[in-house]
């Protein structure tokens, strides 16, 4: 018989599993959420490094894939605009910069929106076999979205320098705008994850709806003035987030700041609810998963 380890003599942490809703012991739930979030940082970092290093390893063009989609999209819109296929009001900046920045920000939002569902789907086998802080998947997903954005920002910076655009002090606020955009995407994504894990319809619909919203967000055109489209576009919650971030990045002052503040506070609340939902739903989802 070996000697029992010293650590075994300390009072041990007790875990209890019962069928009752975790919400019934709300205080404990909140404490657990906090400690799990803290405990998940190292795992999230590891998963992030794993995903990033595996992402382009089996590919010839590698990191170029991060640039190719926004460049192509921009080229297409710039070409169509230059051929006068459609008329666009003054954007207040060179059109290529307008489209490229809009595309990159939109892409960041949709990636954040899809990331929770995608991460859970990709790591199903881990979820059904290992008990680890589930927050790690969401954090790693968010990290990857930001990493992809960072690569694209380099591209955007080069284009901005090419057009000799002035740098404003509001550039310092850009990270706030980006975090809000990512946070809003994550919040919606988390809220959809439980249903999305059960029914694939959610994933399919998500792709379709984001495509539709691409045209209802001022990405390739500025917010129109005084018509029905204006109302519709302004009601789109992504509009103030994207527009404000772009304004801070290039114009210097934000035109939709009140709406931005409103949407960002709502998305903070949604993010918390989404997180709670994701956490609470996970054991039920694992019950129904086959992996």
């Amino acid at each position: 018989m070996g000697k029992p380890k010293e650590t075994m003599d300390r009072p041990l942490k007790e875990t209890v599993y019962t069928p009752d809703s975790e919400l019934l012991s709300f205080g404990r739930l909140i404490r657990n959420m906090g400690s799990d979030l803290f405990a998940s940082r190292e795992l999230a970092w590891r998963l992030l490094v794993r995903n990033i290093s595996a992402q382009y390893r089996q590919s010839l063009l590698g990191y170029a894939w991060a640039f190719i989609p926004p460049i192509l999209t921009t080229l297409i819109w710039v070409f169509l605009q230059s051929q006068r296929v459609f008329n666009i009001a003054d954007t207040g900046m060179p059109y290529p910069v307008f489209v490229l920045s809009g595309t990159i920000l939109w892409q960041t939002f949709t990636e954040a929106l899809n990331s929770p569902l995608q991460m859970v789907n990709e790591n199903k086998s881990m979820l059904t076999k290992i008990n680890f802080p589930r927050e790690a998947l969401v954090l790693a997903g968010a990290g990857q979205v930001l990493f992809n954005l960072l690569i694209r920002v380099v591209l955007l910076g080069i284009i901005m320098m090419w057009f000799k655009l002035p740098l404003h002090a509001s550039l310092l606020l850009v990270p706030v705008g980006i975090l809000t955009l990512v946070g809003f995407g994550l919040a919606l994504g988390l809220l959809l994850t439980p249903l999305g894990m059960l029914y694939q319809d959610v994933g399919r619909a998500l792709g379709f709806v984001t495509q539709a919203f691409f045209f209802l967000t001022p990405i390739i055109y500025p917010v129109p003035q005084a018509n029905w489209a204006e109302l519709l576009i302004k009601l789109n919650p992504v509009t103030p987030l994207l527009q404000t971030t772009r304004d801070w990045l290039i114009v210097g002052e934000a035109s939709l700041l009140p709406a931005f503040l409103l949407v960002s506070s709502i998305s903070t609340i949604l993010l918390l609810i989404g997180w709670l939902m994701y956490r609470i739903a996970m054991p039920h989802l694992v019950t129904r998963m086959n992996a």
Binding site: K5, V16, L24, L43, R50
Partner: protein
């Protein structure tokens, strides 16, 4: 004192659904109920649901080990998943004290494109280790898994055995208070398996409570004396491992009962009865007893020069040995309507467990297959107890054997004598 109880499972049940569509819908219901903060509705099953684990209770203290055995779908893995907190119980209560480690599937966090080195770090972190702890144990992990030449090879180029070894080596670093193991020890070569068992015994001695699911029941006895037999989610038996194993083997037998394929309906092995030495019908024996079987073959036609082929089988190990009537130069004809043949197995060399006879009737030619008995003729050996720790007999067969000290090489013994 309750501090020493590490795992306490109280009347735990879990239900699953047979149909996918309904299962998903029930999932939506359960999530919404949970999110609205309602109490779970325990009672009763919804349509197409069944109890995967039904009213199971047990308790495990420090340094104890419990084996879980049972046929496929008995609820063993579901029970482990509940203990690990992966799924919630539908009834009952589970209390676990201390850090829980689970080897449910080795290498579940492996990414095939990444190298072994990278995967060790990923998998280690998934299991809850800090970077520094992994760096500290890195050499040990590589040595334990024996993959030192392949540390920088992508895991997709590994053989499945290597992957399992790497997975176990990473997981073996865990020194949890409670360890859950699901069937992972059935893989890998024999030498590595031994290493794994040694490691588990070491953990147990340090005070880890271990719960292990295995189909390799004869290996199980290496690390535990207590075993729970599950069937259809229910706890059939919990206690001494040899009783548990023979119970499990009886169950396996029960599943295959009546599956004998009778091709020629004009003849059949009507019944096989087991008797003890005194001629009483009996199914329970001890090692070394003489066992008699009475085989009744029915036939409408005369079968000249018939042969009987008998194999002694174990439900877990398969066929242990076969013999036939021609070997003993025993000749007989099957005459209508029936004949009775008596078979004697003197001083049966089988150890504790459940066994059965599979009897086939053939004609004189090699391929003259007539009929086969359904594997219904089972009997159990209840004693004497076996010993897995190297102080007695163990596993299935009691080999007759003898020991003798042969005199040492004279030169050596001379030198020994001179020294003393």
């Amino acid at each position: 004192m309750s501090n020493h109880v590490l795992v306490n499972v109280e009347r735990v049940s879990k239900k699953y659904c047979r149909s996918l569509k309904r299962s998903l819908w029930y999932g939506v219901q359960d999530v919404s109920r949970e999110f609205l903060g309602r109490k779970a509705h325990h009672n009763g099953l919804r349509k197409e649901e069944f109890w995967a684990v039904n009213d199971v209770s047990f308790e495990l203290k420090r340094g104890e080990c419990l084996g879980l055995i049972g046929p496929n779908g008995a609820g063993k893995s579901t029970l482990l998943k509940m203990l690990n907190g992966l799924v919630k119980p539908d009834k009952g209560r589970i209390e676990i004290r201390g850090k829980v480690g689970a080897l449910i599937e080795l290498g579940a966090g492996f990414n095939p494109i990444l190298t072994a080195r990278e995967n060790i770090f990923v998998n280690g972190t998934v299991l809850g280790f800090k970077k520094r702890e992994i760096e500290f144990k890195f050499e040990e992990i590589v040595a334990f898994s024996g993959i030192d030449k392949f540390v920088d090879t992508p895991v997709q180029n590994f053989s499945s055995g290597m992957r399992v070894r790497l997975g176990f080596a990473v997981a073996a670093m865990l020194e949890p208070h409670v360890l859950l193991i699901d069937e992972v020890l059935a893989v890998g070569d024999a030498r590595f398996r031994m290493k794994c068992y040694e490691h588990l015994i070491k953990l147990k001695d340090k005070g880890t409570a271990i719960i292990v699911v295995s189909h390799a029941v004869n290996h199980l006895s290496r690390i535990t004396r207590d075993c729970m037999v599950l069937n259809a989610g229910r706890n059939l038996f919990c206690g001494e491992i040899s009783t548990a194993i023979s119970m499990y083997e009886e169950q396996l037998l029960g599943d295959s009962l009546g599956s004998g394929d009778i091709t020629d309906t004009s003849a059949s092995i009507h019944s096989v009865t087991v008797f003890n030495r005194k001629g009483e019908a009996c199914r329970e024996f001890t090692t070394g007893e003489t066992v008699h079987f009475e085989i009744i073959c029915k036939s409408k036609d005369l079968i000249r020069g018939a042969r009987l082929i008998v194999s002694v089988e174990s439900p877990t190990l398969g066929i242990l040995g076969s013999f036939s009537t021609p070997y003993s130069k025993f000749c007989f004809d099957v005459t209508p309507p029936e004949i009775k043949v008596k078979l004697t197995l003197p001083s049966l060399p089988l150890l504790v467990g459940t066994y059965f006879l599979n009897i086939s009737l053939y004609g004189p030619g090699e391929t003259d297959y007539v009929t086969r008995s359904a594997p219904a003729t089972s009997f159990s050996i209840l004693g004497p107890p076996t010993n897995e720790f190297g102080y007695g007999l163990s596993n299935s067969i009691a080999f007759e054997h003898a020991w003798k000290l042969v005199k040492n090489n004279p030169l050596v013994s001379c030198s020994v004598e001179r020294n003393t």
